[in-house]
Amino acid sequence: MLTVDQLDVWFGFPPDRVDAVQQATFAVAPGESFGLVGESGSGKSTILRAVAGLIDTWSGRIGVDDQPVSGTRRDRNFYKTVQMVFQDPYASLHPRHSVDAVLSEALRLQGMQDIDRRIARLLDDVGLGRGFRFRYPHQLSGGQRQRVAIARALAAEPRLLLLDEPTSALDVSVQAEILNLLADLRAEHDLTYVMVSHDLAVVAHMCDRLAVMQHGRIVEIMSGAALRAGAGQQDYTRHLIQASAGYSRA
């Protein structure tokens, strides 16, 4: 479904060039849920943005559905296959667009017919209900906004969903709702997920396999079961698992 091969991403020019991702290689099978974990600055979100075509300074190979992509140019077909959900639900919805405007624009851009029925369906899918259709973002809570963002991503009926820390800005009880929703949607629509998170427990809950990243490099790729067992091959992985287990008095 998604292959990333020797991906390098950098920002700026020498001597200020920052290598955000170096030699990242992984593959995600159709229907799989793949996690990218690491601390801030490890380059995990950058990989998602490069795949989505939001960054143009990268080299290496990215393939979606066995079709190679280049630069920031993506064709119509790509957007019908790949969609993304962003971290901050307060920044990912246009402040002047109502839910209706957001969803109908997304549907129209995909050349869909029957917009009214589809909007109702999308809102039902993400558990919002039709009463929310004409609300503006400021009339929604964080969790509701994230549901709208998920509905927007689903409008194109994609098969691969890129999730960039979809719950880290939310309260834990809302996080549980969104994670359940994402799990349901994946089962219902046969979706493939690539999920970025700094929260190991969330990734272990959601993902079959995951890559641990540090300083722009993939340290190791392991299964969710191995993560839960604390069976990291690398020192860094073990350190990360130990640190996220919580605080123990020194």
Binding site: R49, A52, G53, L54, R76, Y79, V82, Q83, M84, F86, Q87, D88, A91, S92, L93, H94, P95, R96, S98, D100, E105, A106, L109, Q110, G131, F132, F134, R135, Y136, H138, Q139, A149, R152, A153, A155, A156
Partner: protein
């Protein structure tokens, strides 16, 4: 639906769960109105401007006399029952001239307020959104315009085009756009990298669509505020051009030109220059107050709370 009948109109407008697109839109407008109304000074500004517009529309009925009828026998009369604000050097009723002059003022302000921000919005957002060479070229042109003092540049334009009210408006509009372009570009630069733009891009939205549907609505509100605050300056520039004889031509009752006429008598017959001056002052103030109120309503940074 039976439920909505029980609601008052206010509740319907303030509903957090609007049922239709129309209700949502009207609700948003009503919210804005409530915020605006809370600002007493802004309301004062709005009332003054409504009166000004009323004056311009109903000038022929409101003016006690013709603004052009001269009466050399009754020249330079002080304010009295017959001439509430006195008469000028040609014996024309100053009140009537002020009332008719509001038409000219509104024409100037309205036209400039329409042309300048639109040029500025277009150039600024295109520059900010496209970046690279386009940005460089457009912004250097803006800088060239900004490098000249506004009034001098307007003077040069009018001198080249010929003195008339139309050319004065054109000159003012052409010199007023660069600050709007700068503002719009700065806004665009912050909006450009927002997640919701990235999300729209991932829906396959092209640059034109992003610019018009996503960037413009966010830039326009801060431009409107800026325009309202700049109006006072534009009125003053227009009056300045009139004062220098490069705007409205006699006998048009333009306020700036009226001050200019009264200048020779300012020590002995103060009202001839003071009355139009007062009018300019009040209207400029009203626009400033209005701008402040609009900022409360429209500034996206203020609405976060």
């Amino acid at each position: 639906m039976s439920q909505s009948r029980d609601m008052t109109r206010r509740e319907w407008l303030l509903s957090d769960a609007p049922q239709t697109r129309r209700q949502a839109r009207l609700g948003a407008i009503y919210q804005g109105w409530l915020t605006f109304r809370a600002n007493k000074l802004a309301m004062l500004g709005l009332i003054i401007l409504v009166i000004l517009i009323g004056m311009a529309i109903f000038a022929p009925w409101l003016a006690p006399q013709s603004p052009f009828t001269q009466n050399l026998a009754g020249r330079l009369q002080p304010p009295s029952g017959e001439h509430l604000l006195g008469t000028d050097a040609l014996g024309r009723d100053i009140l009537s001239r002020l009332i008719y002059g509001s038409r000219i003022t509104l024409f100037i302000v309205g036209t400039v307020a329409l042309i300048a921000p639109i040029i500025g919005l277009f150039i600024g957002t295109v520059a900010g959104f496209t970046g690279g060479w386009t940005d460089q070229v457009l912004m250097r042109i803006t800088d060239i315009f900004l490098a000249f003092p506004k009034l001098i540049l307007a003077l040069a334009f009018v001198a080249a085009l010929g003195a008339s009210i139309g050319n004065a408006v054109l000159a003012l509009a052409l010199t007023a756009w660069p600050p709007y372009a700068r503002l719009a570009r700065a806004e665009t630069l912050t909006i450009r990298n927002a997640d919701y733009i990235a999300a729209a891009r991932l829906q396959g939205a092209g640059p034109m669509r992003l610019l018009i549907r996503h960037v413009w609505p966010l830039c326009i509100s801060s431009l409107i505020v800026r325009v309202a605050l700049d109006m006072a300056g534009i009125i003053l520039s227009a009056a300045g051009l009139g004062f220098l004889g490069l705007g409205a031509q006699p006998p048009m009752p333009e306020w700036g030109a009226m001050i200019s006429d009264g200048r020779t008598y300012i020590l002995d017959f103060w009202w001839v220059a003071a009355m139009p001056g007062l009018a300019i002052f009040i209207v400029s103030l009203a626009f400033n107050l209005l701008g402040d109120g609009l900022r409360d309503v429209l500034d996206p940074k203020g609405t976060k709370e």
